[in-house]
Amino acid sequence: MADSRNNTKQAQVIDENLKRVYQDMLNEDVPDRFLDLLSQLKAQDSDEGDEGETAGAVRRGEGA
């Protein structure tokens, strides 16, 4: 009885801690390098003249 109660409590502690550790990692600020990288990749595609991509970029530019 006491054992199963302890096990249930322990499973809850594990889940709470797991979510807390993961949430802490989720809450970290995303480094600029990743946003920069995505902008670079996007710019590269536009330079290469991918039509759909360029059109998309222009549309988004106008919307901004």
Partner: protein, 185 residues
């Protein structure tokens, strides 16, 4: 919402970093892994099926990057910057609830596959079926990995709790018996 799947990638950056951190337990390695995965995701966007779970697709790229690097290195990456085990000097909680530091330490002792399964199912909210698809294994394998991970964590944390109780007991005994030198140690 844009119709361009690539524009959606940015929304998953925090989750990608969290998953990479939980795999590598090292922020520098995790960031390199995210960087590589972003380039792969961008160039292979045509393999993403619109309407399916983009986070699952990105996590699959991440884990493939991680395991391929691990194979090349021929070993598991160590906890070089102590990310998962930081704050180990914290005292055990008085109410017997385990401190986060104890959990982090136990979590870091799981093997990669167990930690991955637990993070995907227990923390990221993927179903067993989704996690199985991402890891390229049977659903039963994911279930057994998460069960073993939980059992291992429970055992490791129970050990910590017992140690804490023992410490409390010997300190109490020392005070009761008036043995100050024992109490100090």
């Amino acid at each position: 919402m844009s119709g361009e799947p690539r524009d959606e990638i940015v929304q998953h950056l925090p989750a990608m970093r969290a998953f990479a951190l939980s795999l590598t337990r090292n922020s520098a390695l995790a960031d390199d892994m995210v960087q590589d995965s972003l380039v792969k995701a961008w160039t292979k966007i045509h393999t993403f099926e619109p309407g399916t779970n983009m986070r699952a697709w990105l996590f699959t790229i991440l884990r493939n990057t991680y395991y391929s690097n691990r194979r090349k290195a021929g070993r598991e990456v160590s906890d070089a910057d102590g990310l998962m085990t930081e704050g180990l000097s914290e005292k055990p909680a008085h109410d017997g609830r385990l401190q986060l530091a104890d959990f982090r330490r136990a979590f870091a002792q799981l093997n990669d596959e167990q930690r991955e399964a637990l993070v995907l199912v227990g923390a990221s909210g993927f179903s067993y079926e989704e996690a199985a698809g991402m890891c390229g294994v049977a659903v039963g394998t994911i279930k057994s990995r998460t069960n073993r991970a939980r059992a291992r964590l429970a055992a490791l944390m129970q050990m910590t709790e017992d140690e804490a109780l023992e410490m409390t007991d010997s300190a109490t005994m020392a005070v009761v018996s008036g043995n100050r030198s024992t109490a100090a140690r």
